[in-house]
């Protein structure tokens, strides 16, 4: 087997001194995996995702992303890792409100220093891929929730990252839109070979994944095949 893309070794995290949010969490995710994270509200899933995404750092333990130790990253290097290695899909879409779909998709490429001649056609391509052909100029407030989340997915794919982190990507969507989004995300994994870590509360969403990790009180209480885990 190849080297793990994500390698977490006994990380701790607490916001206040008394209440630990993550306790001695360890996890390995290999390239091409599709992992669903589940667990009760407040069990530390989002906190864990933030650490995985280099948006936040753990208090103790070690986290290697693509072989690189992330515990002592400079801010610039962390920004670069987020830009190159990770695509984020958030529950609340997190699009720039006053900007077109195209601009939103282009954002990571502009940040990465790509010229317009590269990012403009690529952004259009990506919007086509998520089924938003012709909606390049639409602003988020002119799009439905499902469409906004598709823009967010296109943005996550912009820099062709090996890893996509999705924190409740269907949390704000109805079941039809959720199904559409999950079809796209599953395709990214099965066809594109992109590694995906996805947080959800819905068993049928988690069912798209190949592996299930369950959190409880900041600890991993299950790590194994999805069907078995969902049944438990």
């Amino acid at each position: 087997m190849s080297d793990p893309l994500i390698q977490v070794d006994r990380i701790d995290k607490s916001y206040t001194a008394l209440v630990p949010v993550l306790r001695q969490v360890s996890l390995k995710v290999y390239p091409g995996e599709f992992v669903a994270l589940m667990g009760p509200s407040g069990s530390g899933k989002s906190t864990f995702m933030n650490v995985l995404g280099c948006l936040d750092t753990a208090d103790g333990g070690a986290y290697h992303l693509g072989g690189e130790d992330t515990t002592r990253l400079t801010k610039d290097r962390a920004a670069e890792l987020r830009n190159r290695m990770i695509g984020f899909v958030f529950q609340g879409f997190n699009l720039l409100q006053r900007r077109s779909a195209l601009d939103n998709v282009a954002l990571p490429m502009i940040c990465g220093g790509l010229p317009r001649s590269v990012w403009a056609p690529r952004a259009r391509d990506l919007l086509d891929q998520v089924g938003l052909k012709g909606r390049y100029g639409s602003r988020p407030n002119q799009l439905s929730g499902g469409q906004q989340q598709r823009v967010a997915i296109a943005r996550a794919l912009a820099m062709e990252p090996p890893l996509i982190l999705a924190d409740e990507p269907t949390g704000n969507l109805d079941s039809t839109s959720s199904a559409d989004i999950m079809r796209i995300i599953s395709g990214l994994n099965s066809i594109g070979g992109i590694t995906i870590v996805l947080v959800t509360h819905e068993p049928d969403i988690a069912a798209h994944a190949k592996r299930l990790v369950k959190f409880k009180d900041g600890r991993i209480v299950y790590d194994g095949p999805v069907q078995q885990g969902l049944a438990a």
Binding site: R82, I110, C111, G112, M159
Partner: protein
């Protein structure tokens, strides 16, 4: 792998456009500040120039000696009411070491006529030295000479205002004849525009004739050889103080005034007056300038305020930008550029408005206002500096936001 600078600029411009009205209002502070600085400097410069012009049209190192009050029957007239000075006084003063020239003057108001146009103006009778002392330039023709003076020739030099009132526009009056108190005078010279004197008189509304001509042909005199006023020019500025004392002694001596008697003349140092006016002018310019500078400062604080609001408002946007990998430096630059564009844009509009207003003010008040390269450069530099200075803190706030905090922000 950082953002291209062109892309940062574009991002800054787009986000400013999306807050159009507010960006403009923020700029307004700088527009007013820069406009005020440019306008105030131009007005200050204009006032200084016009004072300088008055000073140079007045002549350098100049005393004016006014003939004083004689006591007649217990009534004292004002200075100049009864002539106590004489041509002999003038000659004696001219002999003093340190005196460059003396011009005796008698004047009065008279009606002048040219082909149906008539104009009442000040007639000054004086010697040819007068033109040299006062450093007056000629638009056309030349001053009358000593021969004309000695022979009491009916010749005249006229000022621009007189020319406009007696002659059709564009006509050169030199060589023409006008009538002063019905006596024909030939015009030998037309003075260039002098503008106002420091006392605010129109120095172009004047006709100058030889001293003897005025005395014998125009005004006559109960006391032949008496003089109302004398201009005395010192050779250098250094001797002014001692010369004033010497002139006083000579005149008191000649007028046989006893120890305790008051002067029957008065000596005024015009240069000293000019200097005090000039320094008052400088003080006013400085005051105007500082008020304008304060308004510029207030404009700068306005920028800082709006940028801080913008950072707070856009916290989530900053979070998104950070999540997709924008570096702190690039976020900082974007906000800094926004602040600098606001202030430079305001600076540009301010310079245009301030420049336009100074031209208008110059025309309305006949002031030689001047928008100098210096004041424009200053205004721009200060505006840019204000953008950087007051934009720096908000920009750093934006750059230092923690990505997760920013993303969580509602």
């Amino acid at each position: 792998m950082s953002m291209k600078s062109g892309a940062i600029l574009t991002e800054a411009l787009i986000s400013m456009r999306s807050t159009g009205m507010r960006s403009f209002l923020t700029m307004l502070g700088i527009i007013i500040g820069v406009g005020a600085v440019v306008l105030m400097l131009a007005i200050g410069r204009g006032v200084e120039l016009s004072v300088q012009q008055s000073i140079s049209s007045q002549g350098a190192n100049l005393f004016i000696v006014l003939s004083g009050s004689t006591t007649s029957g217990g009534l004292r007239g004002g200075f100049g009411s009864a002539p106590t000075l004489t041509l002999d006084d003038a000659r004696e003063l001219a002999e003093l070491p340190g005196v460059a020239a003396v011009a005796p003057i008698n004047n009065g108001v008279a009606q002048t006529v040219n082909e149906g146009q008539n104009w009442s103006t000040q007639i000054t009778g004086t010697t040819p030295d007068y033109f040299r002392i006062r450093n007056w330039k000629f638009a056309s023709g030349e001053p009358f000479d000593d021969v004309a003076e000695r022979s009491a020739a009916p010749v005249a030099v006229i000022g621009a205002t007189v020319a406009t009132n007696l002659f059709p526009e564009g006509e050169d009056p030199v060589g023409k004849t006008i009538r002063i108190r019905n006596i024909p005078f030939m015009i030998v010279g037309l003075l260039a525009n002098q503008g106002q004197s420091l006392q605010g008189q129109d120095q172009d509304d004047v006709i100058i004739v030889p001293f003897q001509t005025a005395q014998r042909r125009l005004f006559g005199s109960a006391f032949p050889g008496s003089v109302r006023t004398m201009f005395v020019q010192a050779a250098t500025a250094d001797v002014m103080k001692s010369l004033e004392q010497q002139m006083r002694e000579v005149l008191r001596d000649r007028h046989r005034l006893s120890e305790e008697a008051d002067d029957d003349f008065s000596i005024r140092d015009l240069t000293a007056i000019a200097e005090s006016v000039a320094s008052a002018t400088r003080a006013i310019s400085l005051l105007l300038g500082s008020i304008a500078a304060i308004s510029l400062l207030v404009g700068g604080i306005g920028i800082m305020n709006i940028m801080l609001v913008t950072v707070t408002e856009r916290t989530r946007e900053i979070g998104v930008r950070k999540a997709v990998g924008t570096r702190e430096r690039d976020i900082m630059l974007q906000f800094l550029i926004e602040a600098v564009i606001l202030s430079l844009g305001g600076g540009l509009i301010g310079v245009l408005i301030g420049g336009g207003l100074s031209i208008l003010v110059g025309q309305a008040f006949e002031l030689p206002t001047e928008v100098s390269v210096f004041s424009v450069t200053l205004a721009f530099t200060v505006a840019a500096a204000i953008g950087v200075f007051f934009g720096f803190y908000p920009a750093r706030q934006a750059a230092r936001l923690q990505p997760i905090e920013a993303l969580r922000y509602q």
